[in-house]
């Protein structure tokens, strides 16, 4: 790692992998959402890192993107968790393995 950018990128990649692994491995639906948040954060890190070490940082592109991404992630988390609660009320469980009925 000769440049700081590579370091940040690697951290982001590792975080992303951890988030993905958690989403795939755990049973609980909420933990899947946690994993997804982690993945989104890793992507944000990527963005900021590129903004800082890339060309034309004065264009604020990376920063803007990251800010918007945070906003969207928040909205998505809200809706997703609302869904989980609704499903919990319906089926009385949060285990994803048990929620596989595709019929309405």
């Amino acid at each position: 790692m000769t440049t700081p950018l590579a370091g940040y990128l690697l951290v982001a990649a590792l975080l992303f992998a951890i988030g993905l692994g958690g989403a795939l491995v755990r049973r609980n639906a909420i933990l899947v959402l946690i994993g997804i948040e982690l993945m989104l954060n890793a992507a944000n890190l990527n963005l900021i890192a590129f903004w800082r070490y890339g060309p034309h940082p004065e264009a604020l592109t990376g920063m803007m993107f990251a800010i918007f991404s945070i906003a969207v992630a928040a909205a998505e988390a809200a809706v997703g968790l609302g869904l989980v609660i609704a499903i919990y009320r319906h089926t009385n469980t949060t285990e994803l393995d048990k929620i596989d009925r595709m019929k309405g």
Partner: protein
């Protein structure tokens, strides 16, 4: 690489790992909060102050609380019978490892192609504000719409179920 970087990276990664490996859901929620905090500090390290504070405000202040609420409302404190990990956890692990491998290889293979500039950008909130309503006014409006829709949607989704709940 400065030692601060390593420290902050370590905190973030540890928080993330913990959040996916711990048994109790509440512990997971707390761990992910730690991860969020670490990320915010990393943003500050990268001279993206606004992003860092926004991260703290939104993620730690809202998303993490939301997660805790969800855990509370879905009786997440009870441990499931068959263990917290699904029966095919190895596959997920392999896939995650594969993804990391690919990304890492991409990074390492192309790191020399990126021109590095060590100019420290000075970004003020004023600049960000002007950019928001100037250049990025469209995304701003759309995100505003999105946030409104998400709020209303979440309320409807949760409220609808409330109505059907037998008293």
């Amino acid at each position: 690489m400065s030692p601060i970087f390593y420290l902050l990276a370590a905190i973030t990664l540890a928080g993330g790992l913990a959040s996916v490996l711990l048994k109790h859901l509440v512990h997971c929620a707390l761990a992910v909060t730690v991860a969020f905090a670490g990320l915010a500090l990393l943003f500050l390290e990268l001279d993206a102050q606004f992003a860092g504070f926004a991260q703290i405000l939104v993620y730690i202040g809202a998303v993490a609380i939301l997660i805790v609420f969800a855990i509370l409302l879905t009786r997440g404190s009870e441990l499931p019978k068959g263990g917290v990990f699904s029966s095919t956890w190895l596959v997920g692990l392999v896939i995650a490892a594969g993804v990391f491998a690919v990304l890492g290889w991409a990074v390492l293979a192309s790191v020399n192609a990126i021109p590095q500039s060590n100019i420290v950008p000075s970004v003020t909130v004023h600049d960000i504000g002007i950019a928001l309503v100037g250049r990025y006014v469209l995304p701003l409006e759309i995100v505003a719409l999105l946030l409104t829709a998400a709020t209303i949607g979440a309320v409807i989704v949760a409220m609808h179920e409330k109505k059907e709940r037998p008293q």
